[in-house]
């Protein structure tokens, strides 16, 4: 049969343009390999006299000490005091605390109309006029400055605290004074000072009063909560949250304690006690699951450890357990059970089906996990059974809640042989993906068939070079290349074959 050239060209589609991808092993990777080879080839020459280390390494190795006197001279020389002008304007950092107190207990509410800018005037009176050298200023620790402790105003007190100078808070005795001090600390935006004032307030105010006042001061409150968290004052923190009616936070905080309980039985009992905590409905269910999983894990662990020690159960001999199942996530537990207890009847605690039921695991999730576990064991018949479903006519077909691309990926990661892989590669819908997977796993038949379906002569020709000479594959390609039109009509039927 003769075909005209034009005919032929019309038949074959052009190869797709290939953009860079990270999966592209062929191109970029081999280029990289070439460069690597080139570089490696010249290594010998380089090593001829390898007397020094050119790549800077990090180590505690000798380097002359920088001279202190030099640096002091350097900075001192450029030091000239100039006339001060208010260089940059103050901007409004409108934090919620501007409305300093709405509790009615604080004196600061009396100042509400006044602008906060007035605090700023203290700067000028404080700035001492003595000319200090700049460099020592940078080098001297603040603790060396000992100023007089005297009767500072709240603003001055806060400012001195910011500068790390000595202050006394003892004079702030009335509630009004204390709160004013706190509000001014907050308006200075210095967390260190805010916390310092809070520590003083914690020491000198009853909890009830402190909590009440903090409720309307969100910024101070957050500092206090953080301080209690850092000092691990769990008891007071819980009291505070209770007073603020932040019940969910309370529940979470208490729940968090389980993390520091090492003994699994104690942990389980603690989790049980958490069930009555005021979680949101949704979280409450999660905590219930947490308890139930651990309870089961303890039972399974005890049984399996014994079975393993007894040496009579084959699977534990063949695949010794690498770690205990205690405190593992639910899905890890499901995997474990799909690995060691796959065939158990649904009534047992360790049956995967039972776990699926109890914890309402989605079909897809169950499928993924069981697939991975059975593939790991190379139980290919189990794998096959997972996919097989019968329709009402009694035909079996392969169905998966997961894309077949993922299935292939999971199987391949568990080192499935090519014969197993190609069954699933063939089921991948997208032709491009199918080809790249088939190439990766050397499923020649699938590649050839797909190129045939795509009518991509060029790719087919290219692929001919990759298969073994004189092989079945080569003959198949030749046949296709020589006689495309005959196959043309059949091509579109091809895909249906896999469904049977």
């Amino acid at each position: 049969m003769m075909k005209s050239k034009a005919d032929e060209e019309e038949y074959w589609n052009s190869s797709k343009f290939k953009a860079f991808t990270f999966d592209d092993e062929d191109d970029e990777f081999s280029r990289l390999k070439e460069s690597k080879q080139a570089v490696n080839n010249i290594r010998r020459l380089v090593e001829e006299d390898d007397d020094e280390d050119d790549v800077e390494k990090v180590s505690w190795s000798g380097e002359p000490v920088g001279s202190i006197s030099w640096s002091v001279r350097e900075t001192a020389a450029s030091n000239q005091k100039t006339d001060r002008e208010p260089a940059f304007p103050k901007i409004n950092t409108d934090t919620p605390t501007i409305s300093k107190s709405n509790s009615g207990y604080s004196l600061s509410s009396l100042f509400k109309g006044k602008s906060r800018g007035s605090f700023q005037t203290f700067n000028d009176s404080l700035s001492d006029s003595s000319v200090r050298l700049y460099a020592p200023e940078l080098r001297k620790p603040k603790s060396e400055y000992k100023d007089y402790v005297s009767d500072w105003s709240p603003e001055e007190t806060v400012q001195r605290m910011q500068q790390g100078k000595v202050v006394s808070l003892e004079k702030f005795r009335s509630l009004q004074d204390k709160l004013l001090l706190l509000d001014i600390a907050v308006s200075a935006h210095d967390g260190n000072v805010i916390t310092a004032v809070l520590i003083y307030l914690k020491r000198t105010l009853s909890k009830e009063v402190l909590f009440r006042e903090l409720e309307s001061r969100q910024i101070a409150l957050r500092h206090f909560i953080h301080y209690l968290t850092e000092t691990r004052d769990q008891r007071l923190l819980l009291e505070l949250l209770r007073a603020l009616c932040r019940t969910e936070d309370m529940a979470l905080l208490q729940y968090k304690e389980h993390l520091s309980i090492a003994d699994e039985n104690k942990r389980r009992d603690f989790l049980k006690s958490c069930l009555s905590l005021p979680f949101s409905a949704e979280d409450s269910a999660h905590v219930q699951d947490h308890y139930t999983v651990l309870e089961r894990q303890i039972i399974i662990e005890a049984t399996d450890r014994q079975a393993e020690r007894g040496g009579k159960v084959e699977i534990f001999q063949k695949f010794p357990r690498r770690a205990s199942i205690l405190n593992m996530p639910l899905i890890t537990t499901l995997y474990y059970c799909s690995f060691y207890h796959y065939t158990e009847p649904e009534g047992t605690y360790s049956s995967p089906l039972n776990i699926r039921q109890t914890f309402k695991i989605s079909e897809k999730q169950y499928f993924v996990t069981a697939l991975a576990a059975r593939a790991k064991l190379k139980a290919w018949s189990d794998v096959d059974a997972l996919f097989t479903s019968r329709n009402w006519l009694g035909f079996t077909r392969k169905k998966s809640p997961l894309s077949f691309q993922r299935v292939v990926d999971i199987l391949q990661k568990n080192s499935a042989p090519t014969q197993v892989l190609q069954d699933y590669v063939a089921l991948v819908d997208d032709a491009d993906v199918r080809i790249s997977l088939a190439q990766k796993h050397k499923c020649h038949d699938i590649i050839i068939n797909t190129y045939r379906d795509l009518k991509d002569r060029q790719m087919l020709l290219g692929y001919r070079g990759k298969v073994e000479r004189g092989s079945v594959e080569e003959r198949k390609i030749d046949e296709l290349l020589n006689n495309p039109v005959r196959k043309k009509r059949r091509g579109h039927l091809h895909r249906l074959h896999h469904v049977t």
Partner: protein, 617 residues
């Protein structure tokens, strides 16, 4: 390479090595305050920063005998003087108190000195007081708050800034940030203009301004003209994206620590690991650090060929030529060779890792999320990711990206994904989810209207106190990301039907394969172009405000025209990524600026999310 300096008039960067000398001298001064032989205990996360400015012999010269890492265990030291170099953390101070009290109980007399860096906190001193050892211990501050990591990167090395400030709402580091800025201002200022956005930025600006007023001012030629302050929570999308620029990728995969990376045997193709400094001194790295990964291979193979040619020259040389070759060229070639093989090894390893984890598909999902396209497919991709128990952090990252770009998840999706996440990675992550909700990173969509209506109704009905509480409860709502609207307004996602040539980038989107212009950098670009926020009112409204632009009255007209005005210091409060730095370098080349990035720490998606995990005791 591909985009070499487009404008050749970029000004020179100031020399920041002075900062290192300053920090070292101050440390020496402090060590001398405790004369005689002493053992030094160093907080683990201070080791690398300390390594950058001093070394063992520096310490030895100042009578440091043995070095220990702070490990919260009983000490074995026999020295009668102990010096502790620590971050101001309550638990570390408690441990020191335990050490001192144990000595007391054993009747052992020692001198103790605590050097807090970058500053001490009252809360730490309160611990000393409570534990009854205030006075037995002397304390000092080492204001080491600026570490130059490279010519244009300065880090405060305070990763905890992020969690403390944004999650806990603790403003303890505001003054630190202000002081850092103050030091830069004193040495390289005066600044003429400061822009910023974010609550913390505003506070840091105020703190800086107050410190300027408190201290003395010096006049000298300004080396840095403008400053831009930005809070990390203004843009969470950018740090949550996978990095595909070389330096960012290296950070994502190998974790660059304090400007240094440890390459394992798989990279060095030997049996040992190697620590390598990654900065502009590394000539090979310097040329590829800002490149999209797809360009790196081409560059490296070209380099390898050039190197081969250079080596080949020695064939047919006579003795004299050979001598010149060895003395003049060989050393450079050898160094280049070594660097080249390292970066080839690293690229190879990156390629292997990324191929293994279906990186291409992951990127596709990210890009769809940024574009707001095929969201259902994205959700099922994320779901599969969770089902297969692929990296816990990666799953969380995708969930957060989904939530921010979509302004929260639909209640049905939120519940289902959260449940599956807890099943796959442990119910302990309830605490992580609570943190993410508080930060507004992973939230349930609220039926918007009903809420505002409810809020205003309730506000009218109840007294102030309750209203305050309610507003607090709704505060996560206030942090709505509005990403989609911002993206449209600022044109962050280029049309996907256009070809994007990554070798010749046309905008900052190249750092994300042409799919997304980082919001943070776009804001900086826009504000610099407009010399302020004028015309960006809608954008700042969507970002929840807190923007500012102020000029100093110093700095005459003659100065504003100088090169310094094109040197722009960008300070990220809460961390910045290498991708953002690459984007700014690109912007600098385009506009004739030089950017100096000051950050509380270098971050990436993993670090950002790890800081919010709460599934450990």
């Amino acid at each position: 390479m591909a985009h070499s300096a487009r404008r050749r008039d970029c000004p020179e960067l100031p020399d920041f090595s002075l900062l290192k000398r300053l920090a070292r001298d101050q440390l020496i001064y402090l060590l001398e305050q405790l004369p005689g032989k002493k053992d030094l205990f160093i907080e683990a996360d201070l080791m690398s920063p300390l390594d950058r400015i001093a070394n063992v012999s520096t310490l030895k010269q100042h009578e440091v005998d043995k070095l220990y890492k702070v490990e919260h265990k009983p000490v074995v030291s026999t020295s009668d003087q102990l010096c502790f170099l620590i971050r101001p953390r309550i638990q570390t101070v408690k441990w020191i108190c335990d050490v001192a009290n144990a000595d007391k109980a054993a009747g052992k007399f020692r001198r103790y000195k605590i050097i807090f860096t970058p500053q001490k906190f009252y809360a730490c001193e309160a611990v000393l007081e409570e534990q009854g050892i205030f006075g037995d211990v002397t304390t000092d501050e080492w204001a080491f708050n600026l570490l130059p990591l490279d010519d244009d990167i300065i880090s405060l090395e305070l990763p905890e800034f992020f969690r403390d400030n944004f999650l806990a709402g603790d403003q303890r580091w505001v003054r630190t940030a202000g002081s850092a800025l103050h030091l830069l201002h004193s040495l390289y200022g005066p600044f003429s203009k400061i822009y910023g956005i974010g609550r913390c930025s505003k506070m840091a600006y105020e703190s800086w301004r107050e410190q300027v007023e408190e201290g003395e001012q010096r006049t000298h030629q300004a080396e840095i003209g403008k400053v831009f302050l930005i809070d990390r929570d203004v843009d969470f999308v950018t740090p949550l994206c996978s990095q595909v620029v070389y330096e960012g990728l290296v950070d994502d995969i190998f974790r660059i620590k304090c400007g240094c990376v440890e390459f394992g045997p798989e990279v060095t193709s030997s049996d040992k690991s190697m620590k390598v400094m990654l900065n502009s001194q590394d000539k090979v790295f310097n040329e590829i650090r800002n490149e999209h990964f797809s360009n790196v291979f081409g560059f490296l193979s070209q380099k390898a060929r050039n190197l081969q040619t250079a080596y080949d020259k020695r064939r047919g040389m006579d003795i004299k030529q050979m001598k010149t070759f060895v003395s003049e060229e060989l050393k450079g070639l050898k160094q280049e060779h070594r660097l080249l093989s390292l970066h080839i090894g690293a690229s190879e390893s990156i390629m292997k890792k990324k191929t293994k984890q279906d990186f291409q598909e992951l990127l596709k999902t990210e890009h769809s999320l940024l574009e707001g396209f095929e969201i259902r497919e994205c959700i099922s991709f994320i779901e599969e990711h969770i089902n297969r128990q692929v990296s816990m952090i990666e799953s969380l990252r995708l969930l957060c990206l989904l939530s921010i770009t979509e302004n929260g998840l639909l209640p049905k999706d939120f519940r289902s994904l959260k449940a599956q996440y807890l099943q796959s990675y442990g119910v302990d992550h309830l605490l992580t989810f609570a943190n993410l909700r508080q930060l507004g990173l992973l939230v349930e969509q609220q039926p918007g209207e009903t809420l505002t209506v409810m809020e205003s109704k309730v506000g009218k009905l109840v007294n102030d106190k309750t209203a305050g509480k309610l507003t607090d409860a709704f505060s996560s709502l206030a942090k709505k990301s509005n990403f989609r609207a911002l993206s449209r307004k600022l044109n962050l996602v280029p049309k996907s039907d256009e070809e994007y040539d990554l070798r010749v980038p046309r905008d900052m989107a190249y750092i994300f394969s042409g799919a997304y212009v980082p919001l943070s950098c776009k804001l900086i670009e826009q504000v610099l172009d407009r010399d302020g926020w004028t015309g960006l009112e809608e954008v700042t409204r969507l970002l929840n405000g807190h923007e500012f632009a102020v000029s100093g009255s110093t700095g005459g007209d003659s100065k504003t025209k100088s090169d310094a005005q094109r040197i722009i210091l960008v300070m990220f409060l809460g961390g910045c990524t290498f991708s953002e730095i690459s984007a700014l370098r690109f912007l600098g080349r385009e506009r004739g600026y030089k950017f100096i990035v000051v950050t509380t720490a270098i971050t990436n998606s993993s670090r950002l999310l790890e800081a919010l995990l709460d599934n450990h005791a």
